[in-house]
Symmetry: C2
Amino acid sequence: MSLIVQKFGGSSVADAESIKRVAKRIVETRKAGNEVVVAVSAMGDTTDELLDLAHEVAPIPAPREMDMLLSAGERISMALLAMAIESLGHDARSFTGSQAGMITDARHGAARIVDVTPVRLREALDEGAIVIVAGFQGFNRDTKDITTLGRGGSDTTAVALAAALNADVCEIYTDVDGIFSADPRLVPKAQKIDRITSEEMLELAANGAKVLYIRAVEYARRHGVTLHVRSSFNNNEGTIVYNPTESETAVEEPLIAGVATDLSEAKITVVGVPDIPGKAAQIFTIVAKTGANIDMIVQNVSAASTGLTDISFTLPKSEGQLVLTALRAEQEDSGFKALQYDDQIGKLALVGAGMRTNAGVSAKLFTALYEAGINIEMISTSEIRISVVTRADTINDALRVVHTAFGLDAENEAVVHAGTGR
Amino acid sequence: MSLIVQKFGGSSVADAESIKRVAKRIVETRKAGNEVVVAVSAMGDTTDELLDLAHEVAPIPAPREMDMLLSAGERISMALLAMAIESLGHDARSFTGSQAGMITDARHGAARIVDVTPVRLREALDEGAIVIVAGFQGFNRDTKDITTLGRGGSDTTAVALAAALNADVCEIYTDVDGIFSADPRLVPKAQKIDRITSEEMLELAANGAKVLYIRAVEYARRHGVTLHVRSSFNNNEGTIVYNPTESETAVEEPLIAGVATDLSEAKITVVGVPDIPGKAAQIFTIVAKTGANIDMIVQNVSAASTGLTDISFTLPKSEGQLVLTALRAEQEDSGFKALQYDDQIGKLALVGAGMRTNAGVSAKLFTALYEAGINIEMISTSEIRISVVTRADTINDALRVVHTAFGLDAENEAVVHAGTGR
């Protein structure tokens, strides 16, 4: 008998009809002879509505109470889902994060899982029940308080349960058919990827692919959990995100898995930095203190005549003003001349484990962009990824030409479902 | 320092503005130098909305899951209330029924409290925090499952907390100014009662007074908790429901505390019951098996010529069909002739501890009704109560003449607030 963990997001359980549909799907999996554990998010907009209420009663809601409040959302969806399954004649039991043994640290609103002790879940499974677990939430042993895992928390719950219960697969249900070689809304001929390594998936997720949260993929990679990203609207096979064994990695992997783009970043350029040891470190220490998530960093070659250099880096637009303010406050001490802020950039990332052993990928990428008349402003690479920054208004063209250049286009256009897959 | 338990119902926390108002009131009590524990119901119609959702996904929702679902309601209101208090600069912490140590049996939807272990509440109070507890919900130790207490559960939570924490008083906030000598919507000259014994309050609640739930009053009486029923819209003193000491009961008590009426009952008459030993027992065994709540019972004197008698009893209209069906099924075996069902009755109950030592109350009651031309159909008495059944359409007249006859009328008419005080 296989043990399957299934995760359904808020849009999959947005109303009574959706819940009944999901219940049927879960029962089918059970009937096929599998043990089933389900992680479920709060219904549709519940979380946003609770957040609105919180801000109506308190300008800065207490974090402990915010977690208590938000955890009510999954409690509602999971109880309804369990009822719907029971009314189909199958034993189902819902468990809160705390009941499921989802032990976290005490960081309210962004708790990290420190242990999973699914004793009650294992008991319920042994008794033949379908287990429904509240996604997104946990419990701190020291404070005995409810915590929440932050964005993408339900994906992480599902993966953590799969790891702790040694599940055969963790199915992430979404409103698209799987992971695509590029966003099918932008590249109509994007292809569904059948199999992708967790390492590649991490790079795609980190570079703008929205279907899976980085954190859940990281957890899956660290704990050897196989993910199956698939549609909740059909029974098609989706995308398997796997952790290759030694022997599998030796097999030649496809050159390129996919291309992701991201318009959510901005570029800050620190102009006229004295080109002396320690200056870059000083600047990035200032930036680090803000807690901002720096992505690409480029330092220009110093002009010998001036002894000055420019340093550029990208970061989420939402953190731009914070970092600019921090840098301005230290301008005199740091000795740079000026700051430039540019929020009209786009980032494209080409990801593929095969590029490890295959030269010429960069050259092919740059040639494709050059031939399309697209200017490259920044370049950054990892072992299995090449990222470039272009003007924001050229990023979709860049995506399409790169997709074509690397032979990723499908014969036919993909069918795109509505929604975001959250 | 006094410890005060306060209970706020759903209408007191129906929206963000109400929650902020209640938060201010709680903070005032804290500032006056008291320790404060608050039991709170779910916001406004939340419970009804969750019930509707449950019935949309499952015709007969699983009881365990129903409790899990409904318990989300107080989780939302209590977290919001705690946030609102924190934003007023006071430490506040919310606790679920389980966290508060509200231990119950395992009867989902109608659980009874078996133990209260408010360890975490005491700790939070010792640290200077205002404690907010989810009303209505508990936790079963054996199944480790969430339970709910059923109707009036939040009142019971408040009283149970007051008993376990040895509180000085348990304040029940409502939308009326306290307990009245009769329903002020029916008797404009009804007077607010300043003090009433828990025994009298029990009789009034059992006979149609809607402000307090019987169960909470019973719990308060058994555990010696003093209740203060008061308005959440003003700072007036409300009604103290107290447990008289030996010496207090010796003091002459007011003859009549109040008059309650109830239109929710119906009368079943079992016609032509053979007047032989064991027949009444047989009939009430059939009724008892339905679980119906029988109230008044009257057996007519047997007609010697026929050897047959009639037995009438009252019960909630909602249980009428159930009991009729059960009786019909056993008619042959029981040997009665026919069943009559009458749902056009009204019940009036006159309650007062003083009638223990004071003859003539019945006579005065019957005279007042006779002079008003109101026919009495059934009579039942306890030590501190006399109940009569009349036609439903005469019950409000009956209420007014009795209220006047016993000198309960105020000089001025009471100010009646809207709402039901739930």
